[in-house]
Subunit: 222 residues, 2 copies
DNA sequence: ATAAATCTGTTGAAATTTCAACGAAACGAG
DNA sequence: CTCGTTTCGTTGAAATTTCAACAGATTTAT
């Protein structure tokens, strides 16, 4: 476990908890670590939520499929991020999304019941843990607002610009990277991939944007 | 306060707390009650979140406007519902949405700091309150998933059907009401109002649906 | 009850998106 | 390095959405 301490300390779930206590707590919580290869399913749609996941290394996407097989990417999961906590905390019986590794991953899984119901040993850190979890849930709530704000735009161009302006603001620079390839970006924005490519080209031709793969730069903000 | 007890007891925030304790707690929390007329702003976009709201009577909508003035309705708030808790718990400084009364409302406001930071009197109910708040946040998180699932469909028809099928399932009947007028439904689905009206008419002509104002009935599920 | 305001359904034209198909470029495995 | 695979940008046609405008229905205010 100790080899993951550096990552775990950056995880919002463990904010304000000392190294010693963190390690003891993980044992107490029954935390386990599992590896997933690229494209493997970490949490599967339709199953019952029980575990909270913590990404230790690699990347995964939260993905939703509709009847017709259209894929929608809801979020990107990077090291130190936690995931699945909403379904676990709400005790959902039929999770409507999957979490899929987009590159090889190491994931820590913690049974949510162990967090919510203070253990018989009554470690005092549980209070802090619960508090951290609440702040995380609230923050994710707000992130969904952002996704909805972006995808509620009516045209591909507006969605793309709204998304890129958010990322630029987030990284505090006109020059920035995004964590999606074209198809994943199209899925996130809920638009057609080819139409998205066309729109990116158009913005470049218009001198508003410069783009090389996942790297973008605003030349003139619109 | 006592006249609101019946509503408050149905509020998920106070689940598992006895009447006596609830009334004592409200005093301790400094809860206050405010009235809003139709169309009045309860929480304004751009301000700092501090209070959690509890709807006592009336209805409100969570609304978001983009640069160009397009309105998006994110959720409907009915009596017993709580709102604003995500921003208050995350201590957001610039709330990106407004809450607007869609009919005259009575609202209870509680300073979120009073909930999160156990008071000096150290009433024991705070633990339960915090637990309830967490479950609420997790549940709302899942509701956003649903909105995203619906609006990620590509056509007006698919969005409308996805929405109506959710509502039918929710109310456990093929005959059901929705809490939106046409414009609000169009805003929720992120589509054009006239196109939505046209699609509703079309579904009725096709014998799939029957519709009278806010009341819908599936004759043949698609 | 009446007038004013709001909501709703319809239409057709214009704008936009989706879809399918293709070749070029980038990537990965052996 | 080369082959096979995946990603990417482009295109034009078909499908869909948006927009603007209007009239009938419904609701609200006086």
């Amino acid at each position: 476990m100790e080899k993951y301490l550096k990552i775990l300390k950056k995880c919002s779930l463990f904010y304000g908890i000392s190294d010693d206590n963190l390690l003891k707590m993980l044992t107490c919580l029954g935390a386990k670590i599992i590896n997933f290869d690229k494209k493997y399913t970490i949490f599967a749609e339709g199953t019952t939520a029980k575990y909270i996941g913590i990404m230790l290394s690699g990347t995964a996407h939260t993905v939703q499929m509709d009847y017709f097989g259209n894929r929608s990417v809801l979020s990107v999961i990077k090291p130190t991020h936690i995931f699945g906590e909403a379904f676990a905390c709400a005790e959902a019986e039929n999770v409507p999304v999957s979490v899929i590794a987009s590159e090889p991953c190491e994931v820590m899984l913690i049974d949510c019941g162990h967090i919510l119901h203070t253990c018989s040993n009554n470690c005092g850190f549980h209070q802090q843990l619960i508090f951290n979890l609440m702040k995380d849930l609230a923050t994710k709530n707000i992130m969904f607002h952002q996704k909805i704000e972006i995808t509620s735009k009516r045209t591909t161009r507006e969605k793309l610009l709204a998304y890129l302006l958010f990322r630029a603001k987030e990284q505090g620079a006109d020059s920035f990277d995004i964590p999606f390839d074209r198809q994943a970006l199209a899925d996130y924005l809920e638009v057609d991939r080819s139409g998205l490519s066309a729109e990116i080209s158009k913005l470049c031709r218009e001198g508003i944007l410069e783009c090389r793969k996942n790297h973008f730069e605003f030349l003139n903000k619109p």
